[in-house]
């Protein structure tokens, strides 16, 4: 691994200041993607700014129909949180299925969203629940946050501080994991809210996470798994790679959506 200057600022303002003074800095949250990327030489920053000591970024709070999760909250903590489990059980289930146990002990929600891997789990929950991404300088609605594969609307130096999830009437998540990487070959988050059903698919789209409107329409008419068998999922813009072609991913979107709906309805 190429060498870099490591720093571990204690506050958000210090972290932003270090970033501003460095040539080519990267923030590190849990490091579960960044460190493998550094090991492979796929990124060679001059500075790595560890956000692990920034006190403003930790913690989970539930109030007034909103679950707020600090950006440095580890997946294992979200999975085990009684507050999250009561308010949005599907979100706790999703966090408990990310990667593997060791990854969940280090990986964070902010890191996952900043990286926006097209097969990561959290983007599906953020788009499916219409969450708000809070940064050190503004609030971004889910629909305006994701900007294609590994791309977001974060500006250089901007830090995600928290994610605010509105509590839905019900929700479910189901994924078909790649057996080696544990990333979603397809993962679908379904949320039934007062303003309608949202269906967000990860692992499938060429531009990362996206809403599946044909399924939203079907579920707004009838929020049950069985009628989804008759819905055809368009293959346009779905990924084809060594693991699965677009047709298979389209099929999996339907199957995972049906499972997510069954879970939302309490029938696993």
């Amino acid at each position: 691994m190429e060498d870099f200057t490591y720093s571990r600022p204690a506050s958000l303002s210090d972290a932003v200041a270090v970033h501003g003074n460095a040539d080519d800095a990267m923030y590190m949250a849990g490091g579960q993607t960044l460190i493998p990327v550094l090991k492979q030489g796929l990124a060679m920053p001059t500075d790595v700014i560890d956000l692990g000591a920034v006190w403003q970024l930790d913690g989970i709070a539930v109030s007034g129909g909103t679950v707020t999760i600090g950006a440095m909250t580890r997946h294992a903590v979200v999975a085990a949180s009684n507050d999250v489990g009561r308010a949005i059980p599907a979100l706790a289930t999703l966090a408990g299925g990310i990667g593997d146990a060791q990854v969940r002990n280090r990986g964070t929600i902010g890191g996952s969203l900043a990286n926006n891997d097209p097969s990561a789990d959290y983007p599906a929950a953020v788009l499916g629940l219409n969450a708000t991404v809070v940064t050190d300088r503004r609030e971004l609605a889910a629909g305006g946050y994701f900007d294609g594969m590994f791309a977001t609307s974060l500006e250089p130096g901007e830090i995600i501080t928290a994610v605010k999830f509105p509590v839905p009437e019900k929700a479910g998540y189901a994924k078909f994991p790649n057996p080696a990487s544990r990333y979603a070959l397809v993962g679908v988050f379904v949320a039934k809210t007062a303003s309608g059903v949202r269906v967000a698919a990860t692992g499938a789209g060429q531009d990362g996470v996206f809403r599946v409107t044909v399924l939203e329409d079907a579920l707004n008419d009838d929020f049950r798994a069985a009628p989804l068998r008759d819905v055809t999922i368009p293959e346009d813009n779905l990924m084809t790679d060594m693991h699965a072609d677009a047709a298979y991913r389209a099929h999996l979107i339907g199957v995972m959506t049906a499972r997510a709906v069954a879970r939302a309805n309490g029938r696993d």
Binding site: Y6, G31, Q32, G52, V103
Partner: protein, 155 residues
């Protein structure tokens, strides 16, 4: 170079490390604790699993500087007096290893799993071991060993 102070298997250690030094490199090359293995370059195999403040983590996916102030336990820390810990004994009894390369990571992960969930079901053991890859056994005997090791640790 940053200086770090940490506890490894109960021993207080202070050393200088480069920012880029991985925790697993520090454990193996600086401390010469070679029981912790490196089985891949991609953070997938789990052979390097150690405990960081009691939680299982992949020491290849963490910088040594990030362990400053932490308590680390490696496979060597499970048998300080040379007698096998009950989980190690269970792996031996159930033939939970063939080549043995993945075993230190398996056992460290199993110990953390049992600490969190002293009476796991077979499904919970299999889910809990998803981050540890074995190329020999087909996992059957590893799962049997973890279930039996958990039982032995309860008694």
């Amino acid at each position: 170079m940053p200086e770090i102070s940490l506890t490894v298997n109960g021993e207080q250690i202070t050393k200088s490390v480069e920012g880029r030094t991985l925790l697993v490199e520090f454990i193996r090359e600086t401390l010469k604790l070679t029981g912790t293995h490196i089985g891949c370059d991609t953070s997938q195999c789990g052979a390097c699993t150690v405990h960081l403040n009691g939680k299982a983590v992949k020491s290849c996916t963490m910088l040594a500087v990030q362990a400053d102030g932490a308590e680390i336990t490696t496979i060597e820390g499970l048998a300080p007096d040379g007698r096998l810990n009950p989980m190690q004994q269970a792996f031996k009894d159930h033939h939970g290893l063939q080549c043995g390369f993945c075993t230190p990571g398996m056992i460290m992960r199993a110990m953390a799993l049992v600490a969190e969930n002293p009476e796991p079901t077979e499904t919970e053991v299999r889910h809990g071991l998803e981050g540890n890859i074995c190329r020999c056994t087909g996992y059957q005997n590893i799962v049997a060993a973890v279930l039996d090791g958990a039982k032995a640790l309860r008694s």
